[in-house]
Point group: C2
Chain length 370, copies 2
C-alpha cells in the first residue's frame, strides 16, 4: 500500500458497497463513474464544468497521450493535472487495451508489445516498464498495470497463457514503480472461472493498491459477462477498491455494483451525447427525431443540469441538426450530469439499504426509448 | 424613430464617436463589435460566456434561420432571445447579403429575389416584406432593411440601377414593419461618390432608426474601401448609429471608427479561432506552429481571458492538433475576448481624446505575426 491512496468501506447493502477513496488530491465517493478524458480533455468540457456537475475523478489514456502530445511534453508542462487544468484525481490506464485493439498493427512479445501508431504508422514498443514510466511522467493518482486483454472467444490454453503474461507484466510494473502513485492490478482469465480465480490470486500475491477486472464487455453475451462478474468480484480483497474497466452501460453498472464493484469508466455518456443520444429519467431520447422540432419542453423534466434549465428540446434538436459545436457541449453536459447524478442516487440508495429497489426501478426505465 | 432604440452621442475625438445605444434589452456601448451567431448560436459559445466577456449585442442571420429551423419554429418557441437563451439585444441582417452570395442559385426581380436553398436546393422567394416578417417573428431588437448588395466591380449604370432597387425595397420594408423593433437602412452606391450620396439621401428621406453601409469589403482594394468610408460616413445623420456591415478586420475597424462608424460585425474572430489563428497584444499567433509544442507560457501575457489564465500554449497547441472541441472553445473565448477588449480600450481612448495614438499603436502591432 502507498500513502497516496486509501479505500474506506463505509457500508454494504447486500454485496453493494458504499465507500470512499482518499487521495492526496481529494476524496472520491464510490461507487464512482469516471468520465473519460482520452487526450487530456473530456471531450467538449472544461474542468470547471466537470467539477460543477460533481465529477471527482477522471480517466485519461496512456496510449493516446504517449503518441500525442507525448509524455515528455506533459511532464515538462508540470504533469497531466497542470497541463489540462484538472486538480482532482486522475486514473490512467496502461495503454494495454488500446494497443491490443490495434489488430494487424501489433505483435505481442514476452517483454512487451510492438505496435504501429494509428496516427502515422510509426513503430513503437510498449513494455510494462515503459507503461509505468509514462504514467509516472503523467503524474496520475492511480496507475494501471500493463496487461494483456484476452480476446473473446479464446481457448482455455490461450487464456491461461495470456493470464500468465499479465501476471508477469504486473510484477514488472510493481518493480518498476518509483513513485508513491497508486498502482492497480488487472484480473484477466477470460471466461473461465478457475482462470479468473488464478489470475486474481496471483495478483493479490504480488499486492496492489486496488484491483480491476479486464477482458469483460469484449463481445461476450451479457449473461456470460454477468456470470464472470458475479464469480470474480467476491474473490477480490474487500478492503480495496474494485474497478470494472471500460464498462458504462447503466444496466451493467447496476449489475456490477450489485456484485460489489466500486469504480467504472466509459466513453458512453460523452460519445452518445455527441451522437445525439441522451439519457433521461424517462429513458433514452434521440434528439434528432422530427417530433422535437417544435417542442418547447425541457429534455428531462426531472433534471437540473444547465442544458435542461436553459434550453428547449426544440433548440437542442436545431443545434444537433445544424451540427453546431454547442450541441455537443449541451448534450455532453446533460449526459455526464445524468451519469454522475445516477451514481450519487445509487450511493444514497446503498446508504439507505434500498439498492435492490433502486436497481429494479432503473432496469425498467433503462429499457425505454422516448 | 421608434421607442425601442435611442442613440446617444457622448463624445467625439476627431471624427471618432463615443456613444450608447439604449434598447429595451439594455445598453450597448459604441463603437461596438457584434459577435456573429448565424444559426442562433455564436459558434462554440454559451450566452453566459459571451456575457462574461463583455458582449452587449450579437448579430444573427435571417437567411440561415429562415431555412433552419424556420422562423415560425423560433416564433413558436417565444422568439430568438428565448430560443437561444440570450437576453441582451440582437441585430438581425435582412438575408439580402446571403441571398446575393448564392451565385447561380438566385434571380433578382423588382419585387424580390428567387433563390435556391444551399442546404437542399428548395426554391424560395425573399421579398422586402418577407424579410421584415421574418425579423419580426424572430423578435430582434434591430432589423435591417432588405437591400441589394452591389457587386464589385459594377458599372455606373448598373450601380445606379441597383441602388434604386435598394431604395425601393427599403421603402417597402418601412411600410411593412408592424412592430416597435428598430429598422436600419443600408446605403449602397458601389464605388461612386455621387451614388453613395444619392443612396444615403434617399434613405434619410425615408427615415430609419440607424444607417448601415453595405457593399464594402466585397473584393475592392483597401484604398478604395477607405475612400468610400471616408466619403460616405459624414453624410449619415450624426444623431443616429452608423453601422459598417460585415467588416471586422481590425485595421478596417480602426479606419472606420476614425471616420465616425459606431457598429461592426464579422465572423473573423470566431472563424479564425476555430482555424487556430489567434489575436494577441503582440500580433497574430498560429497555434499549430511546432514551436509551441513545449511552450509553457500563456498565449497572450497581457490577456486576462479564461484561456490565457488557465492554459499554456503547449496545451492549446495539443488541443488544436488533436482537433478537440475544447480547442475551438478556448480559442473562441480568447479571440472574442480580444476583440471585445480591443473595442473597450478604443472607447476609453476616444473618451480620453487619444484615439489617434491608439490607432497608430495598433496599426503597427496588427502587422506582426509571432
Amino acid at each position: 500500500m502507498t500513502k497516496e491512496l486509501r479505500f474506506e468501506l463505509l457500508k454494504t447493502d447486500g454485496y453493494a458497497r458504499l465507500g470512499r477513496l482518499h487521495t492526496s488530491r481529494g476524496l472520491v465517493n464510490t461507487p464512482v463513474f469516471m468520465p473519460v478524458g482520452t487526450l487530456a480533455t473530456v471531450k467538449a468540457m472544461t474542468p470547471e464544468e466537470l467539477e460543477s456537475m460533481g465529477a471527482e475523478i477522471i480517466l485519461s489514456n496512456t496510449y493516446h497521450l504517449y503518441l500525442r502530445p507525448g509524455y515528455r511534453t506533459i511532464q515538462q508542462m508540470g504533469g497531466l493535472h497542470r497541463f489540462m487544468n484538472w486538480k482532482k484525481p486522475i486514473l490512467t490506464d496502461s495503454g494495454g487495451f488500446q494497443v491490443f485493439s490495434l489488430a494487424g498493427l501489433r505483435r505481442i512479445r514476452d517483454d512487451g508489445v510492438e505496435f504501429r501508431s494509428h496516427l502515422d504508422g510509426s513503430s513503437h514498443f510498449l513494455t510494462p516498464e515503459l507503461a509505468v514510466e509514462i504514467q509516472e511522467a503523467l503524474g496520475s493518482d492511480i496507475m494501471m498495470a500493463f496487461d494483456e486483454c484476452t480476446p473473446h472467444p479464446a481457448s482455455e490454453s490461450d487464456t491461461l497463457k495470456s493470464l500468465k503474461l499479465t501476471t508477469s507484466w504486473a510484477k514488472k510494473c510493481k518493480v518498476a514503480k518509483k513513485t508513491s502513485q497508486a498502482l492497480f492490478g488487472i484480473v484477466q482469465g477470460g471466461m473461465f472461472h478457475h482462470l479468473r480465480k488464478q489470475s486474481a490470486e496471483e495478483l493479490i500475491e504480488i499486492g496492489f493498491d486496488g484491483y480491476a477486472m479486464g477482458g469483460l464487455s469484449v463481445g461476450e453475451p451479457k449473461e456470460l459477462m454477468y456470470d464472470m462478474l458475479n464469480f470474480t468480484t467476491p474473490i477480490l480483497p474487500k478492503e480495496q477498491a474494485r474497478y470494472l474497466m471500460g464498462v458504462g452501460d447503466l444496466p451493467d453498472i447496476l449489475e456490477a455494483v450489485g456484485n460489489g464493484v466500486d469504480m467504472f469508466d466509459c466513453v458512453m455518456p460523452t460519445r452518445n451525447a455527441r451522437n445525439g443520444m441522451l439519457f433521461t429519467s424517462r429513458g433514452k431520447v434521440r434528439v434528432k427525431r422530427a417530433e422535437y422540432k417544435n417542442n418547447p419542453d425541457q429534455l428531462d423534466p426531472e433534471c437540473s443540469c444547465y442544458t435542461c434549465r436553459k434550453y428547449s428540446l426544440s433548440y437542442l434538436h436545431h443545434l444537433y441538426m445544424s451540427k453546431e459545436i454547442l450541441s455537443m457541449r449541451l448534450n455532453t453536459i446533460h449526459n455526464l450530469h445524468f451519469y454522475l447524478s445516477f451514481m450519487k442516487n445509487m450511493r444514497t440508495a446503498i446508504d439507505q439499504g434500498t439498492f435492490e429497489a433502486f436497481k429494479s426501478k432503473w432496469m425498467e426505465i433503462l429499457k425505454q426509448h422516448v
